[in-house]
């Protein structure tokens, strides 16, 4: 099991479209993916769960991956967050 904490960089936060990007990417991995914000813990392959986090710009998220491809999954997700979840707001 691996885990890393990141910050939401895109200005509008983890709303519908970035959440969809995230699910799309997470679903490509075998590993179980969990996102944690404050005391809320959700399935990273579920858009309903991700939106429930109501993660705004600047909030901290912990990504946990667990499974055969946990290394690749974690790297890919961290990259996506670093690239503002595909939002062109800079």
């Amino acid at each position: 099991m691996l885990q890393q904490t990141i910050t939401i960089l895109n200005k509008s936060g983890l709303h519908m479209r970035p959440a969809e990007q995230l699910v799309h990417l997470a679903s490509q991995y075998q590993a179980e993916i969990t996102l944690i914000k404050d005391d809320l813990q959700i399935n990273g392959k579920s858009i309903m769960g991700i939106l429930m986090l109501a993660a705004e710009h600047g909030s901290a998220l912990t990504i946990k991956t667990d499974g055969t491809d946990e290394q690749e999954a974690l790297q890919a997700l961290v990259d996506l967050f670093e690239h503002h979840l595909g939002e062109q707001d800079e």
Binding site: S12, H15, M16, V23, S46, M48, L51, M52, H57, E87
Partner: protein
């Protein structure tokens, strides 16, 4: 002839005549039935659920393609997101597991799973995330409709457009309706300034609102005549009634044609007083309509529709593209961009959890509460200012403190852009709406710190008379010619002019012939309205003398009741013609 039983009367919300079949637009299930599934039927039940899901996904693909053509690629995006929700393992897999475990039918389990999510979301503080509930309800409806075989959302066609009959239409509903397949709107609730009315007028589609139980009294597929001028609906009309309305329809289109001939002529009274006639818009695609109806510019661009249609926060780049497109399209004419004005009446159903949203976190309050979000919009507007003649306007300002706070953020955004070396027009003028009574009373002080005022009469009337314009029980009290309103407006114009700034009106009152004449007589500089109303108001302005209007307005200010004002106006201003009073 029709007997009285076959006629319904409502509030005329958008002019014109529509003749067509009714389409009852009802997307809520009152009850979802539950029954037991025996062990040997479970796999069949799961297959039925999977089939419904696949069909719903396919419909969303169709819808997505159509919206991409009708509106744009961005607006279509929402249906891709809806697909992601339908495919969510926490919805699909959980439903399947529970059907197996609980031996209950697919619709009851699916409904329960969705309800569980929806109640979790109701507790979220941030309205942009809470607003997703409307999306989830859409999705819930869509899959349940597939399972139960109930009527689907209208995927109509342009050859046989329908008249949409609904309890109420939210912005997301109207985004989803194929505009080419609709020739009219009828709703149970709402007033002349409700969302349905605004959208219908923007689209130039006739509409009647506030007909109690229209959705119960009109049945699906029923032939209907909708007279948006009179606010009358004829159910199952005979051939003679249809013929009569077809003739009126031809006459009205000829009349509009004549009015459009005024297109290139200025809005100027016989004795030479010029007035700016501008248009209110919600969406970038309306600019063609603005130019077609001969507007002098855009007096109110309601940017919240950009947010509502995108179901979330549009990025700086998306906003910049929209603002730049509008600025370029109407240049050198000006565009007043009103910053985000999300309010109680614009939120999708079941979203607002404030006990009293009209007095809650809305307009500029919402933005000042979220400075980071607000600055994204301010930056986008500033960047787009290079493409044309943009002005900026803050909504719902209640006093100097809020105005200065908003201006400070505007200043910060300018400094940020300067630091980043991004060009913008440094002379963008900054104005504010006057729609809160406290701002009206403080107009003298506020006028020293802005470049213009635009009076938002819809809210000013609502807050001054303390009447909810959407509440049918008190809607009759909502009165643009209430003497208090006219006196308020007179004092705002005076305060503006004393401080050398111009004053406009951007509420529904601007398009009301009698009210517009009084406003002109009070010295107003600008009127902003739906593009469709511009030719008629221009005709009236061109047929009157400013000196007469001034005398009339001064006398009106002395009258103590709106009945007396109405009587006086009828006697002294027959030229206003087909008046609504």
């Amino acid at each position: 002839m029709n007997n009285r039983d076959q006629m319904l009367i409502g509030i005329p919300a958008s002019p014109g005549i529509a003749i067509g079949r009714a389409y009852i637009f009802n997307r809520r299930f009152d009850t979802v039935h539950q029954w037991h599934i025996s062990a040997d039927e479970i796999e069949k039940e799961i297959a039925r659920f999977k089939k419904a899901v696949a069909e719903a996904l396919e419909d969303l693909t169709v819808l997505q393609k159509r919206i991409a053509v009708d509106i744009d690629e961005e607006a279509a995006q929402i249906f891709r997101s809806h697909q992601a929700v339908i495919e969510d393992p926490e919805v699909i897999d959980v439903t399947i597991v529970r059907i197996r475990r609980e031996h209950k039918n697919a619709e009851s389990i699916f409904d329960d799973v969705m309800q569980g999510w929806i109640s979790n979301y109701s507790a979220i503080q941030n309205p942009f995330f809470r607003e997703r509930i409307a999306d989830f309800e859409d999705i819930q409806y869509r899959v349940l409709a597939k399972l139960t075989g109930e009527a689907q959302l209208p995927i109509g066609n342009a050859d046989q457009p329908v008249i949409i009959v609904a309890h109420n239409l939210s912005p997301s509903d109207t985004a989803e309706i194929d505009r080419k397949s609709v020739c009219g709107f009828i709703t149970d609730v709402g007033g002349q300034t409700s969302h349905t009315a605004i959208v219908a007028r923007g689209l130039g589609v006739p509409a009647i609102v506030g007909i109690e139980q229209a959705t119960q009294r009109i049945s699906d597929g029923m032939m209907v005549i909708l007279d948006g001028n009179a606010g009358m609906i004829y159910l199952d009309p005979d051939a003679q009634t249809i013929k009569k309305h077809e003739d009126t329809k031809v006459y009205l289109s000829e009349l509009e044609h004549k009015l459009l001939e005024l297109h290139d002529l200025p809005a100027i009274t016989k004795d030479g007083r010029g007035i700016e006639l501008s248009a209110n818009i919600e969406l970038p695609e309306e600019v063609d309509d603005v130019l077609h109806h001969g507007a002098d510019g855009i007096g109110l661009y309601r940017t919240e529709f950009l947010y509502l249609l995108h179901h979330g926060l549009p990025s700086e780049e998306e906003q910049f593209q929209a603002y730049r497109f509008i600025a370029e399209s109407v240049a050198p004419k000006s565009v007043i961009v009103r910053t985000l004005d999300l309010g109680s009446d614009k939120m999708p159903a079941n979203v607002s959890h404030e006990p009293n949203p009209a007095l809650g976190l809305r307009g500029i309050r919402f933005c000042l509460n979220r400075p980071e979000m607000f600055k994204v919009q301010l930056r986008a507007i500033l960047r787009a200012s290079m493409a044309g003649n943009l002005r900026i306007m803050f909504p719902m300002i209640s006093g100097l403190k809020e105005l200065r706070h908003a201006k400070a953020l505007f200043e910060e955004s300018q400094q940020d852009l300067i630091r980043e070396g991004i060009p913008f027009d440094r002379s963008v003028s900054v104005g504010m709406m006057i729609e809160v009574p406290s701002a009206a009373l403080m107009a003298h002080d506020l006028a020293r710190e802005v470049d213009f005022f635009s009076i938002g009469t819809n809210d000013l009337i609502q807050y001054t008379i303390a009447v909810d314009r959407g509440n049918a029980n008190v809607a009759s009290l909502y009165d643009p010619c209430h003497p208090a309103i006219l006196r308020f407006i007179a004092s705002i114009i005076e305060a503006g002019h004393k401080n050398d700034i111009w004053v406009g009106v951007c509420g529904a009152m601007a398009a009301h012939p009698t009210a517009a004449c009084i406003l002109l007589g009070l010295g107003l500089d600008e009127l902003s309205m739906s593009p469709i109303d511009i030719p008629e108001i221009k005709r009236i302005i061109r047929s009157t003398n400013y000196v007469d209007l001034q005398a009339i307005a001064q006398h009106v200010l002395t009258l103590p009741t709106s009945d007396e004002i109405t009587r006086y106006m009828k006697a002294h201003l027959p030229t206003a013609g087909k008046d609504l009073l």
